[in-house]
């Protein structure tokens, strides 16, 4: 599903250049649930943003679902994101003046899906995350866990190839975190490919594979026995 070879990325700041990713080689197969771990500043978000086409790589190659991601201009990146990817952010990133259902329907709007179908799908995915009754509510009327579940529904609505979550539990208490992880595990059980950036070991242990970043390279890449989140809920 994802193949990256010898990926490099540096940030230029004035005369200085910060070499963040120094040759990453990394493959993800369909249906995997991968945790990307590492200390703060190790380049986890940078890697995920490049995989998510929110940022561009300096060197190396990236292939997503057999499509080489090259010559990425903004329009092309937007189309790929819309078609291939679903994002879950630490700070939820819901649009505050849109209701839960409208937020979930938004990626479908950019896919050119008609209004009626958008509404139906939005409700379907809200139901899947257990928030059907909250469809008409604004984000400000929801708790943190609920907001993240709306964001997950939104990421699912586009029916992406890969879900990408950057610290999805970073703003949540541990009980809510496990609820969210339970949901993510269930989505993965249904066959979805998911990448999760986290620095919390307990969250990483709930994935099926842990990739450890340090000083811009992968220092460890192991398959783990998944801890089910449902036992803590």
């Amino acid at each position: 599903m994802i193949e990256i070879k010898d990926l490099h990325k540096s940030y230029k700041m004035g005369n200085n250049s910060l070499h963040v990713l120094k040759g990453i080689n990394f493959n993800v197969k369909e249906g995997e649930l991968v945790a990307i771990m590492g200390s703060s500043g190790s380049g986890k978000s940078t890697l995920l943003n490049i995989l998510g086409m929110l940022d561009v790589l300096d060197e190396g190659s990236y292939t997503l679902d057999g499509v080489p991601i090259v010559d990425l201009n903004e329009t092309k990146a937007a189309k790929y994101r819309n078609k291939f990817l679903g994002f879950i952010f630490q700070s939820f990133n819901l649009i505050n003046y849109k209701s839960a259902a409208e937020n979930v329907a938004l990626p479908l709007y950019y896919q050119g899906v008609g209004r009626k179908e958008r509404q139906e799908k939005a409700l379907k995915y809200l139901e899947q995350v257990g928030l059907k009754q909250w469809a008409g509510h604004l984000p400000s009327e929801l708790s943190g866990g609920q907001k993240q579940r709306v964001a997950i529904a939104r990421a699912l609505a586009a029916e992406p190839k890969v879900l990408m979550a950057d610290e999805p539990t970073g703003a949540l208490d541990s009980k809510t975190s496990y609820e969210v992880m339970d949901l993510i595990q269930k989505i993965n059980d249904a066959g979805n490919t998911i990448l999760i950036v986290t620095h919390e070991p307990d969250i990483a242990d709930m994935c099926k594979r842990i990739v450890h970043l340090k000083d811009g390279v992968i220092v460890e890449d192991k398959i783990v026995d998944q801890v089910r989140a449902s036992q803590y809920v």
């Binding site: 940022d55 819309n82 990133n93 649009i95 849109k98 950019y110």
Partner: protein, 420 residues
């Protein structure tokens, strides 16, 4: 183009406009105010313009009155202080020598600038009224509205020195009962019987005229008051395209030469040039129209700039939202179009509201000045001006919307998302 007609697009736009009410209201007010000022000012200026035109409509705009006074300089043996008298023969001389003249109407009058008014008697009823000795051509220069069934002095009246009179509407009220038809009736004017041939409608604003004025044929006046070939003053109309000020100078020069007056004598011939005054007034009205145009355009510009400003602020406020939209798959073009279309939509809506409001105010002013002497009539704007203003606003609104739209897409989505 498909984008513009898609109902999905409009749902997004209405969503964003409707849910950001303060921003929408401020934008709407900015533009509304601009176009309102433009419409109200330009319409009011047009109303004044029309009003002045109406105030002068009964008199030819390029006309003048010329009369004789007394000399203030000696000339060819004549002493200073000699009084001058215009003669009927001056009319032909002037017409022959000055090609700019279209009409000349020599006039005599009693009880207007001097002399006592004529005594008017009908049975037991008596009154006083000014009396004018006129030629039919006078109506070419100043329209006289004659009530139905009547007429003004005609050529045969002049030739036969008929004792016919056109009376004023007030005189009619004073000496006739309401249901009596005055046409064909006889009255005595300074003890001579005259037959009434018409009643003229009084139009206010025309200077020294009044609603009791009586018009009789020049030739009859001459016999009645024994005035010979004398003429009290000349009413002269120049052709529409002629220079009235030059025409006035020419007329004075010719009259001075006929009457042996020093060409340098400024006081011998008096003149009142309506054309010159009219030019000044229309110049004032034109200036006002121009000024209102400038002010209007400036306010429209200010309105458009305020849209741009507000959009710029709103784009800054919405950086995160636009970043989210882009993360979810909005292309730069879709983001740009969203902002521009929002700008154009707001401009059009508030522009139309401004037009309606401006039209209401103009209507109000028109209604309020309807029955007053204010020179203010029909304050309308040609629809092309209104649409033009709206067009300019939409065009500028689009242009100015491009700046924030460009800014919105120039930031990388990942940077936009990071913004708090």
């Amino acid at each position: 183009m498909k984008f513009i007609f898609s109902s999905n697009t409009w749902q997004e736009i209405f969503g964003s406009i409707g849910k950001n009410k303060t921003r929408t209201a401020i934008t709407v007010i900015g533009v509304l105010w601009g176009i309102f000022i433009y419409i109200a000012l330009a319409g009011a200026a047009k109303g004044l313009d029309n009003g002045f035109e109406r105030a002068f409509e009964s008199t030819a705009m390029n006309s003048m009155f010329v009369w004789a006074q007394s000399t203030s300089m000696p000339y060819e043996g004549y002493k200073t202080g000699r009084s001058l008298q215009l003669k009927l023969s001056d009319v032909n001389t002037l017409k022959n020598r000055i090609p700019e003249i279209q009409y000349i109407a020599p006039r005599n009058a009693k009880g207007v600038f001097g002399g006592s008014q004529a005594a008017v008697v009908r049975g037991q009823k008596t009154g006083n009224a000014p009396v004018y000795g006129d030629f039919p051509i006078y109506t070419k220069i100043a329209t006289k509205k004659i009530y139905d069934g009547g007429r003004f002095i005609n050529d045969e009246d002049i030739e036969q020195a008929r004792k016919v009179v056109v009376i004023g509407e007030r005189t009619q009220k004073e000496i006739f009962e309401e249901d009596e038809n005055p046409i064909g009736e006889f009255i005595r004017v300074d003890n001579i019987y005259f037959q009434i041939v018409g009643v003229h409608k009084f139009v206010p604003g025309g200077g020294f005229e009044s609603d009791t004025d009586m018009y009789i044929p020049y030739s009859t006046y001459k016999k009645l008051y024994n005035t010979g070939e004398n003429v009290d003053w000349l009413t002269i109309a120049a052709y529409d395209d002629a220079d009235v000020i030059q025409a006035e100078k020419d007329v004075k020069a010719v009259l001075k030469s006929i009457h042996n007056v020093n060409p340098e004598d400024e006081r011998a011939i008096g003149a009142f040039n309506l054309g010159e005054i009219f030019n000044r007034i229309t110049g004032f009205a034109k200036g006002l129209t121009f000024l209102s145009l400038i002010v209007g355009i400036a306010t429209i510009l200010a309105g458009v700039i305020s849209i741009g400003n507000i959009l710029l602020i709103s784009v800054k406020e919405r950086t995160k939202e636009l970043g989210i939209r882009r993360a979810l798959g909005a292309t730069p073009k879709e983001v740009r179009n969203l902002i521009i279309l929002e700008s154009v939509f707001l401009t059009v809506i508030s522009g139309i509201m401004g037009i309606v409001l401006g039209a209401l105010v103009l209507y109000g002013i028109d209604a309020a000045t309807q029955d007053t002497d204010m020179p203010y009539t029909n304050p309308t704007l040609p629809i092309s001006y209104v649409l033009g203003a709206l067009g300019i606003m939409v065009f500028l609104g689009t242009l100015i919307g491009l700046i924030p739209a460009q800014r919105a897409v120039s930031i990388k989505p990942i940077d936009a998302l990071r913004e708090e």
